[in-house]
Symmetry: C2
Subunit: 459 residues, 2 copies
């Protein structure tokens, strides 16, 4: 973290505060959080500041809080302990930090208790901090509890701000996207020399670490792409395998990238792999081409379902009319998740607030299999950043399920499907910004065409 005063950061933060002040007439206190212990208290996980706090301070401060009231910013944090310089180096003191973020006032943490009246907050994830929040505000502030009353009002106000990315946010999101793209290229280039998944992952994360960033979520780098959140990396790579890599970089101030590509270990897709890849890519391209203000995100999801169903009919894997197949959820046998989600300071942006951010007010999750995993259901607006990530998976737990087999007996050509056994999982994911006129794919520098992917692997 290079700490220096920049007028653009100060202006960005002032503007965010002012817009918040236009929406709520009570003070808000946001905590940064503290480190979480790993195997013993002094051995902690890398610190990640709370995203709402980051949005209004731009700095990953530890053990700090801010009070936002009528556009004013008050910083509460303690100066470093005398001992701390030995272990952690000379750290900027409270006054210096206050200057960098443009705070109006800076006070020690102990004074925060004098300023809690009528204040709303949002729960931080670590127990030490939410305990402190609960004590100071004299009510339970729990990360798994839905916000109520003024906390709910605050959450809705912050959501309305964070949904629409300002220039300060976009500058960071573009940095995250650029490093994410480089990481994927490095992963592709490392594949032909790799023996196990972990070596491909290492080549990708090296790029992220070298750029002084972190991963925005635990990387998925696997030959078992059918496991959606696979976190195993020990499998050996076989020439006929596909690697599915879902890896994203996060900037020092917390802004996330999130990209998936799928490539052949041997550098060349088999004809069956290529057939399915092109269907997923067609869904990806069709959805992205439709991204523009006013479009319902759920309609993009349904479009992807239809394109995938159509493709599978053309390949002879599904039988029937694509629209009808989507009606009876046949596409979800192979595409059982949503088309994507919001992206910002969190990789599923603001998911700490449950579906409050993802779902337009008055809408709730469907219990329809397939739609139930859709994390975003809002009309698109300029400044929103979403992922578009269709996929095709052969999940044994789904396809071998007796009920599924009988329900879809006549819809799936099971015998023909067995010829596509070398396709366990394919996903193609990009980060797409809704603009005034249409869209801007932040991760467009990473090719998607099968032949381009092959070139990157063989380079």
């Amino acid at each position: 973290m290079i700490l220096k005063t920049s007028s653009s950061l100060i202006e960005t933060l002032r503007d965010r505060r002012q817009r918040l002040a236009n929406l709520i007439d009570f003070p808000a206190i946001l905590w940064s959080g503290t480190t979480s212990p790993r195997n013993f208290p002094a051995n902690v996980f890398p610190f990640r500041a709370n995203s709402h706090f980051l949005y209004f301070t731009g700095l990953p401060l530890r053990n700090a809080a801010i009070r936002l009231s009528a556009g004013k910013l008050e910083l509460f944090m303690d100066d470093p302990q005398p001992d701390s310089a030995l272990w952690h180096g000379e750290m900027p003191d409270r006054e210096e930090i206050a200057q960098i973020i443009g705070a109006d006032v800076a006070k020690p943490m102990a004074e925060l208790e004098l300023w809690t009246e009528e204040a709303a907050t949002i729960a931080v994830q670590d127990a030490a901090t939410w305990t402190q929040q609960s004590q100071l505000l004299n009510r339970w502030v729990l990360p798994l509890k839905s916000p109520q009353d003024i906390d709910l009002e605050l959450a809705k106000a912050i959501i309305s701000l964070r949904l629409i990315h300002d220039d300060g946010a976009l500058a960071e999101l573009r940095k995250a996207a650029a490093v994410t793209v480089e990481a994927h290229k490095a992963g592709m280039a490392a594949t032909t020399h790799a023996q196990i998944e972990a070596q491909v992952r290492a080549a990708m994360e090296q790029v992220i670490i070298a750029n002084n960033m972190t991963t925005s979520y635990n990387s998925i780098v696997t030959v078992h792409g059918e496991v959606l959140h696979n976190e195993q990396y020990h499998h050996s790579l076989q020439p006929g395998d596909l690697i599915l890599a879902d890896v994203g970089a996060e900037t020092e101030t917390g802004w996330a990238g999130d990209v998936t590509r799928t490539w052949p270990v041997g550098g060349k897709f088999s004809s069956t792999q290529r057939d399915i890849y092109d269907i997923v890519l067609a869904a990806h391209d069709a959805c992205i081409a439709k991204v523009s203000p006013g479009v319902e995100y759920q309609d993009l999801h349904l479009l992807a379902c239809t394109v995938i169903a159509e493709g599978l009919v053309n390949l002879g894997i599904l039988q029937g009319n694509p629209q009808d197949l989507v009606e009876i959820n046949a596409h979800a046998l192979f595409f059982p998740h949503g088309i994507g989600h919001l992206l910002g300071l969190d990789v599923h942006d603001m998911e700490d607030l449950g579906d409050l951010a993802g779902y337009e007010e008055g809408r709730t999750r469907s219990n329809h299999f397939g739609l139930s995993y859709l994390r975003l259901n809002r009309p698109l607006r300029p400044g929103m950043l979403v992922t578009i990530e269709p996929g095709f998976y052969q999940v044994p737990a789904i396809l071998n399920h007796a009920n599924v087999r009988s329900q879809y007996q006549d819809v799936v050509n099971w015998e023909h499907l067995s010829q596509f056994a070398d396709v366990r999982g394919i996903r193609i994911e990009d980060d797409v910004l809704v603009t005034q006129e249409s869209r801007d794919v932040l991760t467009a520098a990473l090719p998607t065409q099968a032949s381009q992917i092959e070139d990157l692997v063989c380079r």
Copy 2:
């Protein structure tokens, strides 16, 4: 994690249980812990199982507990949810896990409450788990609270086991050491092409990730070696700088490596850097040469202090008799930490129990500056693994302190010291096993001589 039944794992675990049963006559329940949330509940830090649990199960299971009683092993965990196969893949069920670890009985988690009577435990770090521990045992089990009564007895019994590494442990520790050595070599080789610290760190962690391991603590890779726990990586590398890298690998089942080397960015130590480096190396070598059963670890610390004081007198930085200088803590101006610590499943092994493991019964920490940071004060015994890590640092917070300046006015040749301004921090650390006769340096494959280090950087 490759899960397969191995008779050697089963035997190792049985032996550990039997030795525990020889020490305590009440049951013990150990929890594995659960994931800690990062910025929202579904985005978690990489899971790290509790070390005491790992010692008796050998597997990083999530949300599991074991009950150890009279040499018997009972496993409590739930089978994966039906949904889980979609997101996390087909996981081995409770019965399969029980077979792999040689459990006598396997039961769902809900049955654990029937088996808590008179049982001792050790607090796990994550709040969700210590809350569960406290509820089930009907007493506060907190990671920051010293264990009492049977919990204390259990802690002491486990310490006596974990202090002396068995063959199963050593096999893992040697793996961690080997990968740690390779990571350091990669860091050295990457330096001449690197512009910032993060790029050197990336080269090192790539090796660890590629071996499907994790770092055993947050890496220190810095040109500001004088900051003991520096976790910043953004500084640019200048030709005259030294890089201090304190980086260790941890195996899949939790066993740690911990190594530090210091090398010149430009590939060649300056004469002042070389002078100080050789003093630190002399202290390192002298301590390691003394490691053998019966030796007091604190005496190794004092030996390092004396060798460093001697060296600094010879260089003209300190003035006086080395023994006298150590008496008045003059060495601690430049070497303000302890000579090392226990190493095992934790990088500071069993530090979750405070000083119970590090300090022989009846001994407590000194409040002497210098000795107060000594984490280990026991006579060495065969099977103990310790780090030896002397250093030299110019910490502005110490050396510019007015009291220090006046107290040590005649002891330090401040003017002469200023010629060594290009030495901000040097540390050399290896992992040393106490054997029956003497010692075995697990990380000996990584050179320590200045000229060898230069060769590795310039290779």
